[in-house]
């Protein structure tokens, strides 16, 4: 494909000098060339170090323009002053004006893109805040879900430490991102998660039992115990099954969104990912596809500062993620991910735009991974404890939202005590049951590779059953084996062995606990 493209671009290059006479002038007079002193040019050519402004003045833009979701288009402003309007290249994709000024586009804007927020750290509404109203019912539900997620994380994390599950990933510090974004969506919107968004699933009705079953990999796990803990999924809740590879869900989300658009559904696709994902090729593929295909998809980036042990400074040199959208023709917003109201408002509005205008929207939520990357990680080895503490305490999203809910008179201390004890109780019961539920049986190794069992897998299942029969001590005793196999034609001297396995594995064998013989 490269060949054909090259050939095509070569003809364009050959044509360019003819089309752009002032290029030649520039080559010869570059020494005397100087930049225009206009403000727009100096902005454009700024070579100073990028200033990383803190959150002191970022809201002006949104207050002054209530239609704040319209992207801030720096480039538009920069290319109007001295462009040669009457001369332009009639180029595929639209006319491009000529200019005699040799201007390079700056690698970054002078100021970082501001971060939209509604609540300050004390849970007070920021004055003039422009946000979507949240009812009492919704507000309380959001808060209780955030608390449930918090408790889930701490109990399951502890469970892993006790060795009762093999692995866990917490969403600590990202509760607002999880729950508020989920709350702003409809149940028909299709979620393509990464793995730190269990709150979205919780919001949609995945029960504590469902979570516990997946973590235990028992027979009630939808994934039949085949994936590591936290790889949840539920087609009925419009939540795609989690896979470990990073960013692979993004181009799929564009496809899902396209399908929703084709069906004229009042729904969009929503895909979550972290800051590290934006370095993957799939991220770029997805944004470009979504823009070109005009797919109603929300790309929700949880920029939590850390991709395992890689900080954002070592991940990219752009102003975060939100600016990348513009490169693909995608509208975007940066939002305070620890402000549930801001996340709710941004997602709510993004969803409306995505569906009614058939376009992708990029949301960058600034948050912090307050926990370790996973139970296999110790983040104190690569980041200062005071940084973690600051985000855990001062910028805690759950506390901040709680203050707001309390100020509204929607929530009291006794509600809090009641909620926490009831969730914990339910959770412990769910774990108790899940732990006792038997594992999926052996045939589930072979099912679902294809929709039907092919002969090679049938053959391998027979061999495996024979191996289990010969060496039962090699295999976990809590995995039952039930599939009944029709007799197969084998030499008689072997037949006895195989059939004895089959009969052991027949449905008449009662329950997994009695099956100690294998």
């Amino acid at each position: 494909m490269a060949i054909w493209l090259l050939a095509r671009s070569r003809t364009i290059i050959q044509r360019l000098p003819k089309m752009m006479p002032c290029f030649g002038v520039l080559y010869h007079s570059s020494s005397s060339f100087h930049y225009s002193a206009s403000p727009s040019s100096s902005f454009l050519m700024s070579h100073g170090p990028r200033r990383l402004t803190s959150g002191t003045t970022p809201f002006f833009f949104f207050f002054s323009r209530p239609e704040s979701t319209k992207a801030h288009t720096q480039l538009e402003q920069l290319y109007t002053s001295e462009d040669d309007d009457d001369q332009a290249i009639d180029f595929p994709g639209g006319k491009v004006a000529y200019t005699c000024e040799m201007r390079f586009i700056s690698e970054s804007a002078e100021k970082r893109v501001p971060c939209y927020r509604v609540l300050d750290d004390n849970g007070e509404l920021v004055s003039h805040s422009n946000h979507v109203q949240v009812s009492k019912e919704m507000g309380v539900k959001m808060y209780t879900n955030m608390v449930t997620l918090q408790i889930m994380d701490s109990v399951f994390y502890e469970l892993q430490r006790q060795g009762r599950i093999s692995f866990y990933v917490t969403s600590m510090g990202e509760e607002a991102v999880n729950i508020a974004s989920a709350a702003a969506l409809s149940a028909h919107d299709v979620i393509l998660p990464q793995y730190r968004e269990p709150g979205v699933l919780l919001w949609r009705g995945f029960t504590l039992e469902d979570f516990a079953n997946q973590l235990m990999g028992n027979k009630a796990d939808f994934g039949k115990g085949r994936q590591m803990p936290i790889h949840y999924g539920s087609n009925s809740l419009n939540y795609f099954t989690v896979s470990s590879p990073i960013a692979t869900q993004l181009p799929q989300a564009a496809g899902v969104a396209y399908s929703l658009k084709m069906d004229a559904k009042n729904a969009c696709a929503v895909t979550y990912f972290g800051d590290g994902s934006t370095s993957e090729g799939d991220f770029h593929a997805a944004l470009n596809f979504a823009a070109v295909m005009e797919a109603p998809v929300i790309f929700f980036c949880r920029n939590n500062g850390w991709a395992i042990s890689t900080p954002v400074q070592e991940q990219f040199r752009s102003d975060g993620i939100v600016v990348k959208g513009q490169g693909y023709g995608i509208r975007g917003i940066r939002v305070d991910g620890n402000d549930a109201l801001a996340v709710y408002s941004a997602v709510h509005t993004a969803r409306e735009m995505a569906i009614t205008e058939s376009r992708p929207i990029l949301i960058e939520a600034l948050t912090y991974r307050a926990g370790h990357h996973s139970t296999s990680d110790d983040s104190t080895k690569y980041r200062p404890i005071h940084e973690i503490e600051y985000w855990k305490m001062t910028r805690n999203p759950v506390n901040r939202f709680k203050k707001w809910v309390e100020k509204n008179g929607w929530w009291e201390d006794k509600d809090e005590v009641e909620l926490r004890s009831s969730v914990k109780k339910q959770l412990l019961e769910a774990i108790r049951v899940a732990e006792k539920t038997e594992k999926p049986s052996v045939e589930e190794i072979f099912n679902d590779v294809y929709d039907q069992l092919p002969s090679n897998l049938e053959e391998q299942e027979r061999l495996l059953r024979q191996a289990i029969h010969n060496h039962p001590e090699d295999y976990p005793s809590d995995v039952p084996s039930r599939r009944h196999f029709p007799p197969i034609s084998v030499p008689e001297e072997y037949a006895e062995d195989i059939f004895s396995v089959s009969s052991n594995c027949s449905p008449s064998a009662n329950g997994w606990r009695e099956r100690d013989s294998y």
């Binding site: 795609f240 181009p251 564009a254 496809g255 399908s259 070109v292 099912n447 002969s455």
Partner: protein, 415 residues
């Protein structure tokens, strides 16, 4: 299927000396009229039928194939994508998971690698990891040598995908096969990689039923019956193999065939040799595997048990090619087998002694002996591409040509 490919097709038909003969195989389920079509048109026809018969069928490719398809079904259902293979496959997976029949095209199999992660880690595991909650897509890609394709327009990457549980790999050999198999692949709920022999797009012409018909997947087809050696291949290579079969049949009448059978009697091994001077050339059985994974081992096994010899041929490099898998599987199944009961053994002894140069008599102690017989009378042979990148001007040297195959047939039969 781009303009460039159309160019390919024309060059091929002018430059190639490769001949394709139509196999006289039968197709099921096609009652109506038949029309002479090349492989390109047969695939086009299959796509039209797939799109027409299922309103949820969608096609995506860079660049968009077949202008008439887009005209007929609209640009919403047949669309151009940006130039990004992982995007095409990922987007297609998303479509398929939403209940659409997504048909994604990669311009050349040589460019499928950027999508490898999406195919291997996503498409292949979508059903399994979710516990059967989602279906998947079909990916088409032209593969194989074309006479002048060099490194990046000639590769046969099928073996990579045959190592991935959850994927099906299908390669048609002719227009009629292509149409029926492609329709099966599109309608199969599993992810299928469908490699099209681009050499044959214009070159292969045969009568194709106009109707909608499907050919079974994971079902090999015996194209020619024979008794001396089994040849297994797929796609464009079959036409080369068929020529080798024809030549083997008529050419070498001087091949001397030593037929041996070993009998294990107690702790003794008896070897009975029969040297036959063939008068009628070598009779080759030719099998089109059609689906490479999950593949039809039984058909190949049955054939090898009949002929006692196996030759596999593919364009891809020999090391780690799918021929290695076939070879290993057939050795597992055909190296030794319990041959017959005693009565058969005795009958066989009488027959052999009558035929052979070494008269043999058996007395009846057989009931206490185990009797085993070799199915394989010669080592399995692979005639494949060289273990090099696909070399442009050296293509005639690289390829598993007819005479390489013919020589291997002779030496295997004469082993």
């Amino acid at each position: 299927m781009s303009a460039s490919l159309r160019r390919f097709g024309r060059w091929v038909s002018l430059a190639s000396k490769r001949e394709f003969s139509n196999f006289s195989c039968i197709e099921k389920g096609a009652e109506g009229s038949w029309k002479s079509l090349n492989l390109y048109s047969a695939i086009n026809q299959a796509l039209h039928i797939a799109m027409e018969s299922d309103p949820r069928a969608l096609m995506l490719a860079f660049p968009v194939p077949l202008g008439r398809l887009a005209e007929r079904f609209g640009k919403n259902r047949v669309f151009n994508t940006p130039l990004c293979e992982q995007g095409i496959v990922g987007f297609g997976i998303g479509l398929a998971a939403m209940g659409n029949r997504a048909i994604a095209e990669i311009q050349f199999a040589d460019y499928i690698y950027p999508a490898f992660d999406q195919i291997v880690n996503e498409a292949a595991k979508f059903r399994y990891r979710s516990g059967n909650q989602f279906n998947c897509l079909t990916i088409r890609a032209p593969y194989g040598a074309v006479g002048h394709g060099g490194h990046y327009h000639s590769q046969s990457p099928e073996a990579f995908f045959c190592h991935v549980p959850g994927i099906k790999v299908v390669i048609p050999r002719s227009p009629r096969q292509a149409k029926g198999l492609l329709l099966s692949c599109i309608r199969d709920p599993n992810p299928v990689v469908f490699f099209e022999p681009k050499w044959l797009y214009r070159l292969a012409v045969e009568e194709v039923p106009e109707d909608d018909y499907m050919l079974p997947l994971s079902d090999a087809e015996v194209l020619r019956e024979g008794s001396d050696i089994t040849l297994v291949g797929w796609g464009a290579q079959l036409s080369i193999m068929e020529q080798a079969c024809l030549d083997a049949e008529k050419a070498n009448k001087q091949v001397s065939k030593l037929s041996t059978q070993k009998f294990l009697v107690g702790t003794w091994v008896w070897t009975i040799g029969t040297r036959k001077h063939r008068k009628d050339g070598i009779s080759c059985e030719l099998i089109d595997l059609r689906t490479l994974i999950p593949w039809d081992k039984d058909t190949v096994e049955a054939s090898v048990k009949k002929t006692g010899r196996l030759l596999i041929s593919h364009e891809a490099p020999v090391t780690g090619g799918f021929g290695a898998e076939i070879s290993a599987s057939i050795v597992e199944r055909c190296f030794l087998r319990p041959a017959m009961d005693m009565a058969q053994f005795l009958a066989s002894c009488n027959m052999m002694s009558a035929e052979s140069n070494f008269p043999l008599t058996c007395n009846g102690h057989g009931s206490v002996f185990g009797i085993l017989q070799h199915d394989l009378e010669a080592p399995i042979t692979r005639i494949c591409g060289l273990d090099t990148p696909f070399p442009l001007v050296f293509e005639p040297f690289y390829m598993p040509t007819k005479n390489k195959i013919l020589d291997a047939i002779k030496s295997t039969v004469g082993y």
